[in-house]
């Protein structure tokens, strides 16, 4: 069965304290891995798509990497405004169209 697991469930960091979030997956027919940010009361906001092992993408303090079994979201010198739930999702090939499976997310809190 296709599965996406995120860890840790929750993470509390001091402002400036760098860390990484993990997303491991067991899927067949992977067609891309997404990272989303979700703020309370809002829908997921797209951050990155990674397509193949070894790929990296960066945006401000965030950097996403991908291997054959997992992805990491590295947060460098986080600020309080980075506090959110970060969701990982994988896109599978489903009859030629995309189907997305989400992990449960990591709730990040950055303390000033």
């Amino acid at each position: 069965e296709d599965q996406v697991t995120q860890s840790p469930e929750a993470l509390r960091l001091q402002e400036g304290e760098s860390s990484s979030l993990n997303c491991s997956y067991t899927v067949s027919g992977l067609r891309g891995l997404f990272w989303y940010r979700q703020d309370p009361g809002k829908g997921p906001e797209f951050l990155f798509t990674l397509y193949s092992a070894g790929e990296e993408k960066e945006k401000e303090r965030l950097k996403a990497t991908l291997t054959k079994k997992e992805s990491f979201l590295h947060i460098t010198a986080p600020k309080p405004e980075d506090s959110a739930t970060y969701l990982c999702a994988v896109r599978l090939n489903s009859g030629g169209y995309q189907k997305v499976t989400f992990g449960t997310g990591t709730k990040l809190q950055v303390i000033p």
């Binding site: 829908g43 997921p44 797209f46 009859g95 169209y97 995309q98 997305v100 989400f102």
Partner: protein
């Protein structure tokens, strides 16, 4: 450019009642998706429209759920009759092309509470 919008933002109904959720995708996006997140669980796929056609409805829980997308624009998701376990946040997303690797843009969700 307006994003994906959903209505209502919250709905509280009693078990056995009917509720209809609406989603307006980004203009020009042929692909529209419905997802649901129940408390403590991950966001789960419900179904995928390409224009007005249902491309994949494998995630629909049971026949109490009916999704429509008349004219290929906005979509509705009706739950009839609602049960307690239907409570959760229902998200809609849209994308320009479902076959190439384009990202999905999500709406703010509708929080449904069934009492």
């Amino acid at each position: 450019e307006a994003g994906v919008t959903q209505f209502p933002s919250h709905s509280v109904i009693e078990k056995g009642q009917t509720v209809t959720l609406r989603c307006d995708p980004i203009s020009g996006h042929d692909n529209l998706y419905w997802y649901r997140r129940v408390m403590g669980k991950e966001i789960k796929f419900l179904l995928h429209f390409v224009k007005e056609s249902k491309q994949d409805e494998s995630g629909m829980p049971n026949n109490r759920f009916l999704a429509e997308r008349t004219g290929g624009t906005y979509s509705t998701l009706k739950v009839q009759p609602a049960e307690l376990e239907d409570s959760g946040v229902y998200f809609c997303a849209s994308s320009q092309d479902g076959r190439v690797l384009s990202e999905q843009f999500f709406g703010p969700g509708t929080r449904l509470t069934v009492l």
